[in-house]
């Protein structure tokens, strides 16, 4: 088999990869093995010889078939999601799997197992309810073997999984970069599923005609944001719009394609009206539409439209700033880079080599809003991101954004967004009855 030959070449002809795995295994206190495509062991680290007694015991008890199936499944999962897979290999016992690939094909896997995240003495018998083929006479031996399995903290497990994936990337040919698109697709799918859930909860009595109206309203909303240059918000709304479209046309991919194409047309037209260069948008559109014919399924279609709309948004932003007075552009760049410091209009005007009053006047005439308003917008966009994606407190965020006091930041945020930073975060983090977790 080609895949076997690849693995032999990789691990037998050169001792570096195995040395690296040995080092990983020792430093992480994790037994490591190299597996072939069928889930059979090709090599095991020294830690495995010492701490893998549990697995050996199971394989003597004809449990090895089920272990192998689990390993194969995990390897397939790892290329489906493009990430290392952490899961149970048998009740309570865990494994980490990272794929080995040759020319985009799965040829084997790196396996870190067995390990536990709980002290074996704390496991109760019900956790083994699916039953091992261990006769009660061998129970003591089984418990001793269980006690020899290394116990890792959660944080260490996550780190180890990342490191194992990096090693798999290094040992694959050419590497695992082919999985980047998979990750992007799955990430987007997860976001879209969450958006559908949010739409469902907000509109409990959705009918097809209400869907249509919602879709129309959301389209207006995204166009408005694009024209106002609120790039982050526009991107958020796009996910919502995708969620609505998918809910409408999931079973009719052709209709889905058409409505997505329509969306691109509407958005590009709006972008041109808002100041994007017609030729550039047309060029962008024809290039993307050519790509569209190659798009096979709904997942790729979603990724495609996100990219196209992002390109349009970025293009509009660039063209808008391109025709600005050089001094205003300089001020914009300065504000984009220094929004977190305590900026004053005087300071920004100085950067543009203008007097404060001349600068304010020029800025407003070209941008349609005052410098302070623009700065606030940049800060709010960043605040939204931080509230959503970080654990930082509102006070910390306010400080990082250059607001000397939190209550003033809260006031500004509320004025712009209609709700306080706390409510914004809470609304975003509202637990719902679903999860997109593996």
């Amino acid at each position: 088999m080609d895949s076997d030959r690849f693995l032999i070449d990789r691990f037998k002809r050169d001792d570096q990869p195995l040395k690296k795995l040995e080092f990983f295994s020792r430093s992480r206190n994790l037994p490591v093995r190299v597996m072939d495509r069928r889930g059979r062991e090709l090599w095991g680290s020294r830690t495995f010889s010492k701490k893998g007694r549990f697995c050996k015991l199971l394989s003597q008890r004809s449990y090895s078939q089920s272990c192998r199936v689990t390993r194969q499944k995990a390897a397939r999962e790892s290329i489906r999601w493009g990430v290392p897979i952490i899961g149970n290999c048998c009740p309570a016992v865990l494994q980490i799997t990272a794929p080995l690939m040759n020319d985009n094909r799965l040829v084997g896997s790196l396996l870190a197992s067995p390990f536990l995240m709980t002290d074996p003495r704390e496991l109760n018998s019900s956790e083994f309810s699916s039953g091992f083929p261990i006769p009660s006479s061998a129970n003591k031996e089984f418990l001793r073997a269980l006690a020899s399995i290394p116990v890792l903290e959660e944080g260490k497990v996550h780190e180890a999984s990342q490191e194992l994936f990096q090693l798999a990337d290094e040992f694959s040919h050419p590497d695992l970069s082919c999985l980047a698109k998979v990750r992007e697709i799955q990430d987007l799918q997860g976001k879209v599923a969450e958006e559908i859930q949010a739409v469902k909860v907000a509109n409990p009595d959705l009918t097809p005609s209400k869907f249509f109206k919602l879709s129309y309203d959301t389209e207006r909303e995204i166009i408005q944001k694009i024209c106002r240059g609120e790039r982050e918000k526009a991107k958020e709304i796009l996910n919502k719009l995708l969620a609505i479209m998918l809910s409408q046309y999931l079973l009719e991919v052709d209709l889905l394609k058409i409505s997505i194409l329509e969306l691109v047309v509407v958005i590009s037209r709006a972008a041109v009206e808002a100041g994007a260069k017609l030729e550039e948008i047309l060029g962008l559109k024809s290039k993307s539409i050519a790509e569209l014919w190659g798009v096979e399924n709904q997942e790729e279609l979603c990724l495609w439209v996100v990219k196209v709309v992002n390109d349009i948004i970025e293009n509009l932003y660039r063209s808008k700033t391109l025709y600005l007075d050089q001094r205003v552009r300089r001020a914009l760049e300065f504000m984009d880079q220094h929004f977190f410091s305590d900026l004053t209009v005087e300071r920004i005007a100085r950067e543009a080599y203008l007097s404060t009053s001349r600068f304010s006047h020029l800025f407003k005439s070209q941008m349609g809003l005052a410098p302070v308003e623009y700065l606030t917008r940049v800060r709010i966009e960043n605040a939204r991101q931080m509230l959503k994606n970080s654990k930082k407190s509102v006070a910390e965020i306010a400080q990082e954004l250059g607001y000397s006091d939190q209550s003033y930041f809260t006031k500004v945020f509320k004025k712009s967004e209609g709700l306080t930073p706390q409510s914004f975060r809470k609304g975003y983090l509202q637990p719902d009855m679903s999860s997109t977790l593996p």
């Binding site: 995240m117 109760n124 956790e127 739409v199 809910s247 719902d432 679903s434 593996p438």
Partner: protein, 232 residues
């Protein structure tokens, strides 16, 4: 959560439930054990401990996963904390309903490996007197049909957490009907599944959330005597 309208006893109860949820988020097994054990001893309703303590806990943990604060290991441990709590409550739940209301076969559809939502539905259904057979995840249409033929359930429930796997719900219903299984009622649910979609693929019922499953099933089987809310 406002506690203004509650008496001191209810307020104490609410506080305990919040502590259960928090212990799940903190993956504090001993804490879950202690709190759930104490509530069970005080004669608290096991379902309210599940629905208002354990489930909000695992949902909050899931949310932390989405925002990047938790990774898979934390989620595995939080799920384990829930299981520890359920294990303690199981004897109480088992003794409650005296008869099996209906048999349910459940699974996540083909290519879908999410099981947290499905497992929640199972917990809620079993707790409400249904007999549930769990087919697991990544179940192909033939797998569902075989199970229906063998188990003769009144309900076949399917879960999907990805828009890309949702069409397998349709394939399963089609195969089910074309192989002559016309009696069994089909129920669908999951984050991206909407009522409109459920209707369009010919499902008999739809669940917006795990906790509504018993009501929807009772409606589908005409056990409530009132108009079905999500059984069409």
């Amino acid at each position: 959560m406002t506690i203004g309208n509650f008496g001191p006893k209810e307020a104490r109860n609410e506080q305990l439930l919040r502590q259960v949820a928090e212990a799940v988020v903190q993956r504090d097994f001993r804490g879950v054990e202690k709190l759930v054990g104490r509530m069970a001893q005080l004669g608290k309703d096991p379902f309210s401990i599940i629905n208002r303590g354990l489930i909000p806990g695992i949902l909050a943990a899931s949310q932390k996963f989405r925002t990047g604060e938790f990774f898979i290991p934390e989620i595995l441990m939080a799920s384990r904390a829930v299981k520890v709590g359920l294990h303690l409550l199981q004897p109480l739940i088992r003794e409650k309903p005296k008869e099996v209301l209906a048999r349910v076969v459940i699974g996540s559809v083909k290519f879908d490996l999410h099981d947290i939502g499905k497992n929640l539905v199972i917990i809620v259904l079993e707790g409400n007197g249904f007999e549930v057979t769990d087919l697991g995840v990544d179940v192909p249409p033939e797998g569902f049909v075989r199970a229906v033929e063998r188990q003769r359930p009144q309900i076949l429930a399917m879960s999907s957490l990805l828009t890309s796997t949702m069409p397998w719900m349709k394939s399963t219903i089609q195969l089910l009907r074309s192989s002559g299984q016309t009696e069994v009622k089909t129920l669908v649910g999951g984050a991206p599944v909407t009522e409109v979609y459920a209707k369009s693929i010919g499902a008999d019922g739809y669940c917006l959330e795990a906790t509504s499953a018993p009501v929807v099933i009772r409606n589908l089987l005409g056990m409530n005597g009132d108009q079905a809310r999500n059984g069409f």
